[in-house]
Amino acid sequence: MFGQIKLLFSVLLIAGIAGAGMYVMKLRSDNAILKANQVQLEQSIESQKKVLEQQKQDFEDIMESNKQLNKLINALKKDLDDLDKRFNKGKRDVGKLAIERSKVIEKIINKGGKNATRCIEIASGSPLTEKEIKATKKSEINPECPSIANPNYVPYE
């Protein structure tokens, strides 16, 4: 009887130790999985951060590009308005002026035509000349399109 109880306890003890061992092994295995998950999560967070930073940078680039394009469109519109003013400033009548001072107007028209032609060349991608880049005075600029022909010219009255 005593022998049987002893055997039972021994079995229970061995089973307990084996169970504890297995439990520890399971905990270690769980711990390894959790560590791997943690590393993956951290990597994921890092990559998400990078994506967000890239998106932010892209957004800023898009805003900057739009700003620059709007600036260009406004400058081109101003050139067009200035051209209109040259024809219709005050009570100016180019036709009447041409009758009265044909030679002078012919010179002005041809100079304007030459400038306008150069503007088309620049708009199509022709590089600016040194003279065009350096122009800062009204007398030096291309009055047909100063916004694209003379980058250093600041309009003044």
């Binding site: 898009i62 620059q68 051209l83 036709g95 009758i99 012919e106 088309i120 060349e121 991608g125 022709s126």
Partner: protein, 118 residues
């Protein structure tokens, strides 16, 4: 003896499948899209034209000058208003050209910059 024979037979029959079929590994490699790389268009080289101002008073003089220079005495005319319209149309075409080029430049700048960063 029979049992041993049976086991050997089973092993022989199943021998081909020991270790199983080799698994096909499928993997994908991201191949970047080929760049478009279209060259920039050659800038225009415009030819000069000469505008003649003709009034009822100087018409004879202008035509005589043309004849003297060996040019056919014929002119294709515009009124002052039409000249103004032509100048404005010209300016609008120029602006559109500049705008389109600037947009293309921005697209190139944006996407090529992104590719470099990647």
């Amino acid at each position: 003896m029979n049992k041993i024979l049976a086991i050997i037979s089973i092993l022989l029959l199943a021998g081909c499948s020991i270790g199983g079929e080799k698994k096909i590994k499928i993997f994908s490699v991201e191949e970047p899209r080929a760049k478009l790389n279209i060259e920039k268009p050659t800038p225009l080289q415009m030819e000069e034209i000469y505008w003649h101002i003709i009034t009822s008073e100087n018409a004879d003089e202008v035509f005589k000058k043309l004849e003297d220079a060996g040019i056919d005495p014929v002119l294709f005319g515009l009124t002052d208003k039409d000249f103004e319209i032509l100048a404005k149309n010209f300016a609008q075409i120029r602006n559109k050209l500049q705008e389109s080029n600037a947009i293309l430049e921005k697209y190139k700048e944006y996407y090529e910059k992104t590719e470099k960063e990647e």
